[in-house]
Subunit: 228 residues, 2 copies
DNA sequence: TGCGGATATTCTGCATACAGAGCACAGAAT
DNA sequence: ATTCTGTGCTCTGTATGCAGAATATCCGCA
């Protein structure tokens, strides 16, 4: 695809790194999307050759991508039967949310100590943007901004292993949250919690932030529970 | 190697699952061991063909194993340069320990609520065994029992995602802990903390257990810090 | 008609082959 | 002497081929 790399390099100054990503990475992101948006349904067996044809790649990079996604917990590898899209029980979801809660609480406490003012301002800006989307009930942008805020909180904590673990779990839950379109009153409650989070963030009050995040997750679990 | 799988199947009764593991899995565990015991040194580039020769497998399963281990955070995949054994900075270690601490604290609280008496008894038995090994200063068994106890606490919490995240992080830290042979007084302190943990465990006091675990990790980080 | 077993087919797991990228070394020009 | 460039080699990334396991199909038989 992008095998013809541009090698002009006239600019000596900012040296932009030319995104160049391998087939493997591209396949990984494509498959991740296919899992989260449901084109690969939970419980479904993944046929390698069919997918290869669809993606236009050979089996080797595809298989390597499957291993990667299995490592992230999105797929399960059954010996001699290949990859199966992981399906989540009620308990799995609750368990994931519990861990996610603990990680984000930790992140909240950390970021209040270590984050730069600019980073906090950035998060508050995301919040304001989400607020605006909520005002006009614009679901998809709201959803994406919501995810970005939660990811951003963890990223601002400046703890790589924490970020990795959180990303993996969030990817697993992404599909669940995606289908979980909550009603107006639940949505309002979630938004109110985000207001509280923003307030705690602005004050750099780590304990308060952790407390709200905990409540947000507990209620979030309750919100999606009747959807499943 | 073991490509000839035994297919006799004379026992119909308890349906034992016949360990049959793929080459991929075997290679993964072998490589994990090689990273933790230092035969693959941090920062070292992994030469695929050389490793293939050493393990007696072809590049395909090896490469798939490399992807898996990269997903676990033990290796780093550099485009066009292959896999590199991940090397940890001081901060990386501290960050990992922080996350590990949060996860084990969560596990401690959970297990006090949900674990069976038998599970707790099992953990206490491991503790007693470790006590015995400490009494005669038998380092390696002590080390392994220590790991087993920490893993066992998380396993007893009955939360699969929590267990997965913990295992990955513990694998990353295993080598650090392995080389970090602490002096007698630090060792005694660590053992004393384990005594406290066992006491809290016996009483199913989740809060107390979480508190000790937190202290144990904080002090553990301090203990290994001057080793690095 | 229902069931058991042999056979055929499909698909995974692994090995190998090939092409391109990165890197080192050497030679030439300034 | 130093730097730049060209060439060759090594190693990764990807494709393809082959063998074995799992499953589906179909036929025979009760």
């Amino acid at each position: 695809m992008s095998s013809s790399t541009v090698t002009v390099e006239t600019t000596p100054a900012p040296a932009l790194p030319i995104a160049r990503q391998s087939l493997h990475d591209q396949v990984v992101t494509r498959l991740r999307d296919m899992v989260t948006d449901g084109r690969l349904a939970p419980g479904q067996r993944v046929n390698e050759v069919a997918l290869c044809a669809g993606l236009g790649v050979s089996r080797t990079p595809l298989r390597e991508a499957l291993k990667t996604l299995a490592g992230e917990g999105l797929l399960e590898l059954v010996p001699s039967r290949g990859a199966v899209v992981r399906s989540f029980t009620d308990k799995d979801v609750a368990d994931c949310m519990m861990v996610l809660k603990a990680l984000e609480q930790l992140a909240g406490r950390l970021l209040c100590q270590v984050a730069s003012d600019a980073a906090i301002a950035g998060l508050l800006a995301l919040h304001a943007e989400m607020q605006a989307r909520y005002a006009v009930r614009d679901r998809l942008p709201y959803f994406k901004l919501n995810q970005a805020i939660h990811s951003g909180i963890v990223a601002a904590a400046d703890n790589a292993p924490l970020l990795r673990a959180h990303e993996a779990l969030q990817a697993q839950m992404k599909r669940i949250r995606f289908i979980g379109h909550e009603g107006p009153e639940k949505w309002a409650a979630a938004m109110a919690e985000h207001e509280e989070m923003a307030a705690a963030l602005a004050k750099r009050d780590g304990e308060a932030l952790a407390e709200v995040i905990g409540r947000h997750h507990d209620r979030g679990l309750a919100r999606i529970r009747d959807v499943i």
